[in-house]
């Protein structure tokens, strides 16, 4: 590695170092003063689903600010024509949008959702923990390691710069030979491994650890969407892993798969990439279903078709990937095939939209913050969805493709769908994580500023796109006639940024002032509201017996306690262990070894990782439990 001289380091990188150093020191002093080390150690060695879920969400919030800052840099640079904001032109700009997109999708949206799954799913289905608590800790630390690897790149002045899609041949060593895109590959590989393991964990938990009587047909919709999302992950992520694996060979070992056949890379990427966007939206759908039914005080309208719709969306999601490739010349037959399969997805999604609306109808709706986010979601997401259908019109997509119209579409779906869903979920389940209820007034401020800012930012981008503005450009001219759209967009982005400050304020205020709430602050319907806030370890002792959908609600309504059942099976075994975090650290070192082609480091860290597997092999927490059983 050549260390750049201090004079060569761009000022934004220096600023980042300084800022991080200052924040690090402040944090250190804070932790020292408040004597929080035991708490931190507790979380570092935990395998409890609630604590891990909380960490997922905490880290995602930090990453959201990080990636949001990138968004603000993008918007600053694009605010006016021929702009020269700070250093963000040319390659620097490319680094910024690549980091923004990759971070937002892999290190913000997904872990947010996975965090909520961790917190809520076991509680919703009456499980005492996830099926594999140890594996869960491994997943989390792998995700964090991947995120840190990816973020390190910026501090080394080598952020990835080939777009979140990393199209070849641009991303091969012939055109981007530096360490930049190595960071991309290894960051995603390490965190992707964690994601796959989480998916396995969720499926086993849902299939095998449900409370007695909680049949699949009585499962809350968030758990359903988690199940189906996990299945999508199991099929989609290995394809990404393989594509990146082959890309690694192209970059490191002299093969030329994707140099000779760039379109094959695009196929592999989108076979993963399209299901990925449904991985992002389905859990959000689940959250909205639960929240809307909770606050309309009605059971969800058309439960069965809701479940079937999720399943169909998931299935169809694997048959539409080439709608991202209409312009690569696949021919009219392929293009029309993928156009039609894509359009078909509008039908099950529409079913869900109308079912939500009709859940509200004839209900008695309490507009709390989580409900507000769900209400904001419906019109916003439908706008994003219908522009998706417009994009699916193959011949018209020749015009939209790679223009700001597409940028507008996917922010309407991902911010207006996923991110609003995540916010709804955080406000809703916050008591289960921390025991406290977030402030409603500040929450509403957050909502209104965010949603108004959102529409201001992304609505004009449709028109910028139709006026011929390509995406991934760092500048435009006055003659392009897109100044008006862009400046509004920039203003909107700052409004969203300000709204996020209310979240921080809210969290600060809540933890400073308020006391813990009881188990059921929202007058809930499902099992998670029967257990204390925050959720204790082994919450379901004794085990409830479920006799209907929304069991807690109908129990309350008829003024009866939930029946108690004999626990049909043993709980998963929790441990306190530092192995997962150490393993993740080792893989991080391994990745750095690869990023900079330091073979000695690869060998040492690789051997280290294997040693961990051996260590684990001999320190299985089941030994104790099985021995006890043997003695009995």
């Amino acid at each position: 590695m050549q260390l750049p001289l201090v004079g060569d380091i761009p000022s934004d990188v220096i600023a980042a170092w300084v800022l991080s150093a200052v924040m690090g020191v402040v944090l250190f002093i804070f932790v020292m003063k408040k004597r929080k080390w035991p708490l931190i150690w507790e979380y570092m060695t935990t395998t409890h689903h609630r604590k891990i879920g909380t960490m997922y969400i905490l880290v995602s919030i930090i990453f959201f600010f990080r990636a949001g800052m990138d968004a603000l840099f993008i918007r600053m640079q694009l605010a006016v024509p021929n702009n020269d904001f700070w250093v963000f032109q040319g390659d620097k700009y490319n680094e910024v949008f690549t980091t923004h997109g990759t971070m937002m999708i892999f290190f913000v949206a997904m872990p947010f959702l996975i965090g909520l799954m961790n917190v809520a799913v076991p509680l919703q289905i009456g499980a005492n923990d996830l099926a594999f608590p140890y594996l869960n800790a491994v997943s989390f630390w792998l995700f964090l390691a991947g995120g840190l690897i990816f973020n390190m790149s910026f501090f080394m002045n080598a952020a990835p710069n080939a777009g979140w899609t990393a199209y070849t041949p641009l991303s091969t060593d012939g055109f981007t030979s530096g360490p930049n895109n190595n960071y991309y590959i290894f960051g995603l590989q390490v965190s992707g491994l964690g994601t796959i393991m989480t998916a396995i964990n969720m499926i086993v938990t849902i299939m095998r650890l449900r409370a007695p009587g909680l049949k699949m047909t009585r499962m809350p919709l968030f758990s359903w969407s988690t199940l189906i999302t996990s299945l999508l992950i199991l099929v989609a992520f290995p394809v990404l892993t393989t594509a990146l694996f082959l890309l690694t060979f192209d970059r490191y070992y002299g093969t030329s798969f994707f140099v000779d056949d760039p379109v094959y890379y695009q196929h592999l990427f989108w076979i993963f990439g399209h299901p990925e966007v449904y991985i992002l939206i389905l859990p959000a759908f689940g959250i909205f279903s639960d929240v809307i039914s909770n606050f309309a005080k009605k059971r969800v309208f058309g439960y069965t078709s809701m479940v079937i719709a999720i399943a169909i969306i998931g299935l169809l999601g694997f048959m539409v990937w080439a709608h991202h490739m209409f312009t690569v010349g696949l021919g009219a037959m392929a293009n029309t095939f993928f156009a039609i399969t894509t359009m078909m997805i509008a039908v099950p999604t529409g079913i869900k939209v109308f079912n939500w609306l009709f859940t509200i109808r004839r209900g008695v709706m309490r507009v709390t913050t989580p409900m507000l986010f769900s209400l904001g979601f419906i019109p916003t997401f439908v706008m994003g969805g219908v522009t998706g259908v417009m994009l699916a019109v193959a011949a018209a997509d020749y015009q939209y493709h790679d223009s700001y119209f597409v940028v507008a579409h996917f922010h309407y779906t991902m911010v207006g769908g996923t991110i609003l869903g995540v916010f709804a979920g955080i406000y809703y389940w916050y008591p289960k994580m921390t025991g406290k209820l977030l402030d409603e007034k500040l929450g509403k401020w957050h909502f209104w500023l965010f949603v108004i800012g959102f529409h201001l930012t992304f609505l004009p981008q449709h028109f910028a796109g139709l006026n011929g503005m390509p995406r991934r450009v760092f500048t435009y001219t006055t003659e392009d006639n897109v100044f008006g759209f862009n400046v509004i967009s920039t203003a909107g982005a700052f409004l969203m940024g300000i709204s996020m400050l209310f979240v921080i304020w809210n969290i600060y205020k809540t933890h400073k002032k308020t006391d813990n709430v009881g188990p059921d602050p929202w007058k809930g319907r499902t099992l998670e509201w029967t257990v204390a806030s925050p959720a204790p370890e082994h919450p379901f002792e004794p085990m409830p017996k479920v006799t209907s959908i929304d069991p807690y609600w109908y129990g309350k309504k008829d003024n009866r306690e939930l029946e108690v059942a004999e626990s049909p099976r043993p709980s998963p075994i929790a441990v306190k262990t530092a192995q997962p975090i150490l393993l993740a650290g080792t893989l991080m070192v391994l990745s750095i070894g690869f990023v900079y082609h330091w073979i000695w480091m690869q060998v040492m860290a690789g051997a280290g990782a294997l040693l961990f597997l051996i260590w684990r092999f001999f320190t299985d927490e089941r030994i104790e439990a099985y021995r006890k059983e043997e003695e009995r």
């Binding site: 099926a131 594999f132 594996l135 796959i196 998916a199 396995i200 964990n201 499926i203 086993v204 299939m207 095998r208 650890l209 199991l234 099929v235 992520f237 290995p238 394809v239 892993t241 393989t242 594509a243 694996f245 082959l246 060979f249 070992y253 002299g254 093969t255 030329s256 798969f257 000779d260 056949d261 094959y264 592999l268 004999e566 626990s567 049909p568 099976r569 043993p570 998963p572 075994i573 294997l610 051996i614 092999f617 001999f618 299985d620 089941r622 030994i623 439990a625 099985y626 021995r627 006890k628 059983e629 043997e630």
Partner: protein, 192 residues
């Protein structure tokens, strides 16, 4: 509790491991697709001139029969007949190791003849696919040695050992199935 601890936890683990094998299967499927797309390559070495039937057949004999010998260990697990477990796992290990030796020999020989990974995309996809399989066999060998150490030390509860052994069996059979697919898709079309 209607289910014993070991029984319930084993079933969890088995389901989880099957799902994991599904993930592996998807990865291999993608690599098979890659191989099919790039083979034969328009330029550079052709598969017919690279492959050599003798090593492939030998390697197959050893790996495939190692799945059979593992069945001996499996039947030993049922009624805890130690000699069966030991012979089964021992011979499986031996066969696996011979397979590894043959694979290394094969790769070494090809590379020596100038058929390196960068020669063309056919060889690239060949090495990635077959190499990934070989590393699975290697991983399996390490796993087996750990199992043998544990069996020897007799330090863990019997139910746990049986569980670990069974999980390993699934893995090994899976790796064998992949090898069968490799024979069918990678080698056979160009050897006959």
């Amino acid at each position: 509790m209607s289910q014993s601890t070991s029984e319930a936890l084993f079933k969890d683990k088995r389901l989880g491991f099957f799902l994991y094998l599904g993930v592996e299967a998807t990865m291999f499927a993608t690599l098979f697709a890659t191989y099919i797309i790039y083979t034969p390559a328009p330029e550079g070495p052709a598969p017919e001139s690279v492959y050599e039937a003798r090593t492939v057949i030998l390697a197959s004999i050893f790996l495939l029969s190692s799945s059979g010998t593992l069945l001996v260990a499996e039947s030993g697990l049922k009624d805890w007949t130690l000699w069966k477990i030991w012979t089964g796992i021992g011979i499986t290990f031996l066969f696996g190791a011979i397979f590894m030796g043959l694979e290394v020999h094969e790769f070494y020989k090809y590379a020596h003849e100038g058929y390196t990974i960068g020669a063309n995309n056919f060889l690239g996809s060949f090495y990635v696919l077959v190499g990934l399989h070989a590393s699975h066999v290697l991983f399996g060998l390490c796993w087996m040695s750990l199992l043998m150490v544990q069996l020897k030390k007799n330090a863990i509860p019997r139910a746990l050992f049986i569980e670990k052994h069974k999980i390993f069996n699934y893995y090994w059979h899976f790796v064998d199935v992949i090898w069968v697919l490799i024979i069918i898709i990678v080698y056979t079309p160009f050897l006959i």
